[in-house]
């Protein structure tokens, strides 16, 4: 049986090429590895090697021929003692099939009319989302700082599950650069509370590998600014693994640490990475505001089978809030929280911006404007249903974000309002974001760059006046 030699695809994009030169002639004996021809692709001139042994039967495409389609039979090789046979008609190259299939995919892609399905079909319909569990009547509240709430959440989960461990710079003997891991070394020992060298890329990768190997790591970045050295593992290793493996290999890991502007630490230590991570399918992104949510969502993050980026805020660590005194306070991921009900305007925020939004709402109330304040809490998946339901009621939307305006969570929510809430809008959506500059050091410039309550008040008045 003669072997047909077909025009090879020698690059991912090659559909045809030039048969530049034959290096064998009919009747030549060839063996595996011999170069048969030179073929020019869209990228380079490649050598075409024999795979099989035999005698060159017929050369069917002459050298110098341009535009030879991939898959065209260009020659035949016969085995020992076989007659050179005429080639069977060339089968349709598989490449021809591919575009039609690609077209089918795009035809079935979500249409703009149902944008909720665009990147979030992995979750159930928004209406089926879990709500916060009811706090039993008579539950005592304890005053905890965000720092303590996070520590307690980690400690409770570590008590419950031996697979959970904490790793990062200064998390153990130093008790945490921001004291979030205070006391954990004493309780859990050096096996489970591990000081690393200053080596973010390495320990983020080590953590992701440990998660693939069956553990549940909590990886602390001293701040998320340093996680840029490790972002490859957060995205390429952690976020994509479940999908790339067809659901076979998981990476249940929590990457946590302070995010956003601190105070007077300059541009390299003051950045909100929430929009970066929230743009990545395969990640869960959480950015809580108060201590109760910090605790309940940290516990949920540790229990999740998915990789979680948990964005804290240094300026919030020391703030005290009431936290329900329950043995197991766990909150649902992917569910926003209405912090203050109102009827005139919806103010949506997350993390430190929620405090500013609440402050602005108080001022607005004094002026007769009743604002509803929503804390997103989870940034991926976004609880658009809660935002849209509020918009339906207030018909005005302002987004408050301690971060840059361009390609922000604010831009995303404005688009959600356009796609799914347009008929409910009485005025254009406005956003209150930081100035679009690296954060300066000088006190007055820093203050000028960051959002504050007066700017939120001004934006709300602007949308009210437009409506």
């Amino acid at each position: 049986m003669a072997i047909e030699l077909k025009m090879p695809a020698l690059s991912p994009t090659m559909e045809e090429g030039t048969l530049a030169k034959w290096l064998v002639k009919e009747g030549d004996t060839v063996k595996s590895g011999d170069i048969l021809a030179e073929i020019e692709t869209d990228k380079a001139t490649m050598e075409f090697e024999a795979i099989d042994e035999g005698i060159v039967g017929q050369i069917l495409v002459a050298e110098g021929t341009d535009n030879v389609k991939v898959g065209t039979v260009i020659a035949t090789i016969t085995g020992e003692g076989e007659e050179a046979a005429a080639p069977a008609p060339a089968a349709a190259p598989a490449k021809d099939v591919a575009p039609a299939q690609a077209g089918a995919v795009s035809a079935n892609a979500p249409t703009p009319a149902v944008p909720a399905s665009a990147g979030t079909t992995e979750k159930a319909a928004p209406t089926e989302r879990a709500s916060d569990p009811a706090i039993p009547a008579g539950t005592a509240m304890v005053r905890l700082t965000v720092r303590e709430a996070l520590r307690d959440a980690m400690a409770e989960e570590m008590r419950a599950d031996d697979r959970v461990f904490v790793m990062g710079e200064e998390v153990a003997e130093y008790q945490g650069a921001y004291k979030v891991t205070q006391g954990l070394l004493d309780e859990f020992g050096a096996r489970r509370v591990i000081d690393t060298p200053i080596t973010e890329y390495g320990f983020a990768g080590l953590g992701a590998g440990a998660a693939m190997g069956g553990l549940k790591p909590i990886i602390e970045f001293m701040t998320f600014n340093f996680a840029m050295q490790a972002i490859d593992h957060i995205i390429n290793s952690a976020a994509k693994t479940n999908y790339m493996s067809g659901g076979q290999m998981r990476c249940p890991i929590v990457f946590r640490g302070p995010n956003g502007a601190a105070s007077r630490v300059g541009a390299q230590h003051s950045q909100n990475f929430a929009p970066w991570y929230a743009s990545v399918p395969g990640l869960i992104v959480i950015a809580p505001y108060d201590a109760a949510d910090a605790k309940g969502l940290m516990k949920a993050a540790i229990r999740s089978e998915d990789p979680v980026v948990f964005l804290e805020n240094e300026l919030l660590y020391g703030r005290g809030f009431d936290v329900p005194d329950l043995p197991d306070h766990v909150l649902p991921i992917g569910k926003a929280r209405i912090m203050r009900a109102g009827s005139d305007v919806t103010i949506v925020s997350y993390s430190i911006g929620v405090g500013l939004a609440l402050e602005a709402a108080d001022q607005l109330a004094a002026e007769g404007i009743d604002a509803e304040v929503i804390d997103l809490r989870t940034l991926r998946p976004l609880d658009t249903a809660t935002v849209l339901a509020s918009l339906k009621k207030t018909n005005h939307l302002v987004i408050v974000e301690e971060g840059w305006p361009v390609c922000s969570i604010a831009s995303e929510l404005a688009m959600v309002a356009m796609e799914q809430g347009f008929d409910d809008l009485d005025a254009p959506v406005l956003r209150v974001c930081n100035e679009d500059v690296p954060l300066p050091y000088a006190a007055n410039l820093e203050k000028a760059a960051l959002i504050d309550a007066p700017r939120v008040v001004a934006a709300v008045k602007a949308v009210r006046n437009r409506g």
Partner: protein, 356 residues
């Protein structure tokens, strides 16, 4: 103790040597070539031949447009994966590698059909058609990929070793990477933590002498890559990666060290890839003669055949194996060509594990 091999050898040396260490620190014992039974020789041959024939077939299917994207073939390097992985305990040890991963999967006994079907992007593929050549995994076989970012598997593998130690399960992680990856920063971050915490890991540099088109000598200030762990106190071994018995023997010495809780070992396997870096590489950075010289003088399969003949395994037996392997590969190609593509709704599955 053998001397360090000469620098810039195009063809790997035919010596199973660990050059003299730069320090007199304790290290793994000197390896000796593995004394294989005839049955083991046949097994090695069968596995190595399967890799070669599988990869040749993959190359053909790529040429026909049935395999797309990047496709990195393992032809020439077969003795490395087979020699090393034959020494592992499949029930507890774990393996991780980079994008040139077909050979390591075949050496671990993963069904060639589901590997080939992944290459052709079919639903029956090991990653259900969503990974492709570079992203394949088998948690069942403790094979953790299949990673497309050069060097990432070294940190991830260190994490697998961390998990073995954390659970105290007696397992060892084996993390393969290339001479190119050995210049990545995270490799050294991982070396530091692995030795600091005495993690059970064997770092395997498959030195096939070219990082895409850049030779070791053009990219590496210290081109004796087995020495790259010295400043972290990780003992290094340099091994002839074209001799499966030398590889297996060295693996046993390395495993003794690691299983004794003495921390990681760095193995440099001197090997060679016959094909381009990927299917679209014209390989103009090396001469035809260089490649042919390795094929003629150092081919791992030819070497093993000679050993088999010496052990009294007849040509008939070898021909039988050849036939058997051709049939397995043909079957995997037929399967991969005829299996259906993924359903369109699979586009949206497995983005996350849970529903939120």
């Amino acid at each position: 103790m053998a001397k360090a091999p000469a620098r810039s050898t195009a063809a790997p040396k035919k010596t199973a040597s660990t050059p003299a260490p730069a320090t007199n620190r304790e290290g793994p014992r000197d390896p000796i070539p593995y004394d294989a039974t005839p049955a083991e020789l046949e097994k090695f041959y069968r596995e190595m031949l399967l890799i070669r024939r599988f990869e040749e077939k993959a190359g053909q299917l790529y040429g026909l447009g049935l395999i797309g994207g990047f496709c990195h073939l393992y032809i020439g390097q077969e003795a490395v994966a087979v020699g090393l992985q034959s020494a592992l305990d499949g029930d507890k040890d774990s393996v991780i590698t980079g994008y040139r991963d077909h050979g390591h999967m075949l050496a671990y006994g993963i069904d060639p059909k589901v590997i080939m079907a992944e290459l052709t992007g079919r639903a029956a593929g090991i990653s259900r058609g969503k990974g492709g050549s570079m992203h394949m995994f088998s948690v069942e076989h403790k094979f953790y990929g299949g990673h497309g970012i050069v060097g990432a598997q070294v940190s991830l593998g260190t994490g697998l070793a961390f998990a073995h130690k954390y659970r105290d399960d007696g397992g060892v992680a084996m993390s393969y990477f290339g001479d190119g990856a050995s210049n990545q920063g995270q490799v050294y971050e991982s070396f530091n933590m692995a030795e600091l915490w005495k993690l059970p890991i064997i770092f395997v540099i498959e030195n096939n002498q070219y990082a895409m088109g850049t030779s070791v000598n053009r990219s590496s200030a210290e081109d004796q890559l087995y020495r790259r762990g010295e400043s972290f106190r990780i003992p290094g071994m340099q091994v002839d990666g074209m001799d499966v018995l030398a590889v297996r023997g060295a693996a046993e010495a390395a495993l003794e060290w690691v299983r004794a809780g003495k921390g990681p070992v760095l193995m440099e396997l001197k090997t060679y890839r016959y094909r381009g870096h990927s299917m679209s590489d014209p390989a103009k950075y090396r001469s035809r003669e260089e490649v042919q010289a390795v094929r003629d003088k150092s081919d791992a399969l030819e070497h093993l055949k000679r050993v088999m003949e010496g052990a009294g395994i007849g040509e008939d037996k070898i021909k039988d194996i050849d036939k058997e392997i051709r049939a397995i590969v043909a079957e995997s190609a037929d399967f991969a060509e005829s299996a259906p593509e993924p359903e369109l709704h699979d586009l949206y599955t497995d983005v996350l594990v849970e529903q939120y």
